[in-house]
């Protein structure tokens, strides 16, 4: 058995790669649905690009059968870490396949660095605290615009994609929270570290996590709301993995919406007369097991007709943006989304909706590149068009 240094965060997952996986190929396609679910394997085809092949790469590198070279970058990094393999695999390590891939990436970054443009994620964060490289927004302007207090029960953690690329989603969320009477504020955020962890670049992770936790606590908040599936997954799963003790409740905006509906605190009053299909974000679906909750909300919106794509829930085809693919392999990322849009075309829907700004970005890029005629809207953007009553219970 090989010795793996204790400082490797993913050590236990690298060790697991030696005790599990006979390469039975069950990870390659939807279990019992037999649908294609792995963007990486379907595109590059060779075994090294499927989950079981990546597990063999871990073994090869740690056993010294494989050398660290430029050749190994694509099989390691050209993967959206969407987790479809985890849902298909029926072996005891199924739930940890994404952890294994991220551990492999951590090891790869230590030895030869990440793939192509993925290094930019770190350098941009170093300069501006966000992976897009835009000038850091302290969010003070937004606080003034929305008349938000310094301290509040909730912090709305906007997330970098919403704040720098999908402002409509951000603003819709802010308006919803105000309209719903939520006592919330904003903080001067740093990247939640999702893109850094996903690409194995973890040098800033603990610093950023601790900074955000302290800022949230300084705002007096006991609850954090985010409309970003990536931030949500990172806070709820990765903070613990990296030992960051956060001690507050984390909610996705849709969970808050559902809570308000269930408690009869809001009631939708106007209609949204469109046929809509829901794209399951990997970071909410396969990574966190949330499939029905958003659907229950859509079904409560008057006039909205929800239709399903052929591949949905745990075997939904990934949008192609995650796992560093959007920055590392931008053209391929958009092609993955194209396949999703083609599938959506079969449903008769005119709107594709999701609950993740990163999915929205990539689906929109594919729509624009390939001339699809869809509106792509986040749940919060749909809710922004709907009147609702606030009820006092």
């Amino acid at each position: 058995m090989v010795t793996i240094k204790d400082e490797i965060i993913g050590k236990e997952f690298l060790e697991m790669a030696f005790d599990r996986c006979i390469k039975c190929s069950t990870c390659k396609y939807g279990y019992k649905s037999y649908d294609k679910t792995c963007p990486s394997g379907e595109h590059f085809l060779f075994e090294s690009y499927w989950a079981s092949g990546k597990i063999r790469t871990i073994r090869g590198l740690l056993l010294g059968d494989l050398e660290w070279s430029e050749d190994i970058l694509d099989p390691i990094f050209a993967c959206t870490t969407c987790g479809a393999c985890s849902d298909s695999c029926q072996a005891p390590h199924a739930d940890y396949i994404v952890d294994m891939i991220e551990a492999l990436r951590e090891l790869a970054v230590k030895n030869i660095g990440p793939a192509k443009n993925q290094k930019l994620l770190i350098s941009r964060c170093n300069e501006n605290f966000n992976p897009y490289g835009d000038k850091n927004s302290t969010n003070e302007d937004l606080k003034r615009e929305y008349n938000l207090p310094e301290k509040a029960e909730y912090v709305y953690f906007i997330g970098c994609t919403s704040n720098y690329r999908q402002q409509s989603l951000r603003d819709s969320s802010l308006r919803f929270l105000k309209r719903a009477g939520i006592n919330f504020t904003l903080i001067d955020e740093r990247c939640c570290t999702s893109p850094l962890i996903r690409t194995g670049q973890i040098s800033l992770t603990n610093e950023y996590m601790n900074y955000n936790i302290a800022a949230i606590k300084n705002a007096g908040a006991t609850k954090v709301i985010t409309s970003c599936a990536g931030c949500y997954r990172t806070m709820k799963k990765d903070f613990k993995k990296f030992g960051a003790d956060y001690g507050f409740e984390v909610l996705h905006t849709m969970e808050l919406v559902k809570q308000l509906l269930d408690e009869d605190k809001i009631e939708f009053k106007s209609e949204f007369k469109y046929t809509v299909t829901y794209h399951d974000p990997c970071h909410l679906g396969r990574h966190m097991g949330i499939y029905e909750l958003p659907r229950e909300i859509y079904k409560k919106i008057p006039g909205l007709k929800l239709v399903e794509m052929k591949r949905n829930r745990n075997f939904a085809w990934c949008c192609g943006a995650g796992g560093g693919v959007k920055i590392g392999y931008p053209e391929w990322a958009v092609d993955i989304s194209k396949e999703r849009l083609e599938e959506a075309s079969e449903t008769g829907a005119s709107i594709i909706t999701s609950t993740c700004p990163f999915c929205k970005t990539n689906l929109s890029d594919a729509r624009d590149k390939y001339d699809f005629d869809f509106l792509i809207l986040d749940l919060m953007e749909i809710l922004d068009t709907i009147e609702f009553d606030i009820k006092q219970n």
Binding site: M1, V2, F18, D19, R20, C21, I22, K23, C24, S25, T26, K28, Y29, Y31, K32, S33, Y34, L45, F46, E47, S48, S52, G53, R56, T57, R59, G60, L63, D65, L66, E67, S69, D71, I72, P75, C89, Q90, A91, P92
Partner: protein
């Protein structure tokens, strides 16, 4: 274990020229020589010796394969066919390097399903899961049969290597269900065998309906582990799917009582499939990883599947089967027959996978290694086999994992001791291999014939086989593959 013969495949041509030629045949994205891409193809779940291929290619059609075969034959470069690589015998490990032809990625089309004559014409990469889905969606009244293996095992590989499935008690070896083959031989010719043999060009998709009565050339390719040619199409029989089905669980007390269940229930001719496993395997299924058997526990559990076209038909079959078990108990056996549909509700979905093949079965996918002695066995020796193999398992402190089937109305049986192990834990592979070798020697001595055999096992077989057979075998191999390019090293060629 046998040592691997090193072979310089670049005696006649440089590696660069091989690469250029492969890229011109298959297109650049479908050829790789990167170590990281080759590595997953270099070993399998068993303890068979690993060996790196030199290239992987992903074909799309026969004409590419013809070009490849001609090129490799001229330059004496090994070709190893690959579907998903999850056989239990090192069959796709390129023992002498060369080119792995990965059929699983693009040559995986279901070319035709003939409803009238009940067969499916398949490319080599079609998997059981794929075929099941296609039939379910398009021909729900037809069925194929599915193995005790993950859903992505290849249908054609299973058939041409005489695997068995969940209709084996009716049908016997899956090799018998092949209607026709299209094969590319070493000279680059495309040969069609079976009723599809008429015509000088492409065969009509409706012409793949029978294997006989012409001389059975199919035998030149079935069970040869890819040593005589590349199969590029295969027609397999399908069967009507009855509407009524019942599965029984027979639990046997007394180490060898299960043998008579296999034999006697099999010969009633009412059972589709009988598969029996040691009680330790049942425990693995309910997620006890390293189970032991305790006193007074049953020794084996067998699933017996019957199907029928009407309820009356089913009731008649049930009566026959139940009476057969009653008779065995009257003779002194200790067998409890239960309704598995009710019994399985006690357990998780994972357990019910056994009733819904093809499925990934926990007992097989638990660790990083899996190996076996998979064999056809003489039914009258089952008691002796069970006793001796169970003793060997216990001697090595390895959970007894015996899997058996009754084949073709009990004309013969499958006897398959299996071992799961942690492949990379120091000493484990050697420990399990020692146990497996002992089992292998014992079973071969009792007349078992292993299938999908690793080379160390064929080496043992060769010492026992009559010289006439070996001579003919070598002559056929040399005649069909004079340059030994097709999966060289298999059967110690």
């Amino acid at each position: 274990m046998t040592s691997i013969k090193e072979r310089n495949i670049y005696e006649n041509i440089s590696k660069e020229d091989v690469k250029a030629q492969l890229e011109s045949i298959f297109g650049k994205p479908n050829v790789t020589e990167k170590q990281v891409d080759l590595y997953p193809y270099s070993y399998d779940m068993t303890e068979s010796n690993p060996h790196m291929p030199d290239f992987i290619v992903i074909p799309e059609n026969e004409s590419q394969l013809v070009e490849l075969v001609k090129f490799c034959n001229k330059n004496i470069i090994p070709i190893v066919p690959y579907i998903s690589g999850n056989n239990v015998g090192g069959l796709t490990i390129p023992e002498q390097g060369g080119i792995i032809v990965d059929f699983g990625k693009k040559m995986n089309k279901i070319l035709h399903v003939d409803d009238e004559m009940m067969y499916a014409l398949l490319e080599p990469g079609v998997t059981f899961g794929q075929l099941e889905k296609h039939l379910e969606e398009n021909f729900p009244h037809l069925r194929y049969s599915y193995p005790f293996a993950p859903p992505y095992a290849g249908v054609v590989g299973n058939a041409i290597l005489s695997g068995m499935n969940n209709l084996s008690c009716k049908l016997g070896s899956m090799g018998d269900s092949i209607n026709g083959l299209e094969v590319i031989t070493a000279d680059g010719n495309i040969t069609r065998i079976g009723s599809c043999f008429y015509g000088k060009k492409e065969a009509d998709v409706k012409s793949w309906w029978s294997r006989y009565p012409m001389p059975d050339l199919m035998g030149l390719f079935i069970n040869w582990q890819g040593m005589t040619g590349l199969v590029s199409k295969c027609a397999v029989q399908l069967w009507p799917k009855p509407n009524f089905k019942k599965t029984y669980l027979a639990v046997t007390f007394g180490l060898t009582d299960v043998a008579s269940v296999l034999r006697e229930a099999g010969r009633t001719e009412v059972v589709d499939d009988i598969s029996a496993v040691s009680i330790e395997v049942v425990k693995m299924t309910v997620e006890l990883p390293e189970p032991k058997k305790y006193a007074n526990e049953p020794d084996f559990a067998a699933l017996l599947v019957i199907s029928a076209t009407s309820n009356k038909h089913l009731e008649a079959k049930k009566e026959i089967l139940e009476k057969t078990i009653e008779s065995l108990n009257e003779e002194g056996k200790n067998i409890v027959l239960a309704d598995v549909d009710e019994f399985s509700k006690l357990f998780s979905l994972r357990v019910r996978c056994y009733l819904d093949l093809p499925a990934a079965l926990l007992s097989l996918v638990e660790y990083s290694g899996l190996t076996w002695f998979g064999s056809y066995a003489p039914s009258h020796k089952l008691e002796e086999l069970i006793q001796k193999v169970d003793t060997i398992f216990h001697k090595h402190d390895i959970p007894s994992f015996i899997y058996m089937k009754s084949m073709k109305s009990s004309h013969y049986s499958i006897f398959r001791p299996i071992m799961r192990y942690k492949k990379f834990t120091e000493g484990e592979e050697e420990r399990y291999h020692t146990c497996l070798e002992e089992i292998t020697d014992t079973c071969i001595d009792l007349g078992c014939i292993p299938y999908k055999t690793p080379t160390w096992m064929t080496e043992k077989l060769r010492k026992k086989i009559n010289p006439g057979w070996l001579g003919l075998f070598e002559k056929v191999k040399n005649c069909l593959d004079p340059n030994n390019i097709f999966n060289p090293g298999r059967w110690n060629t």
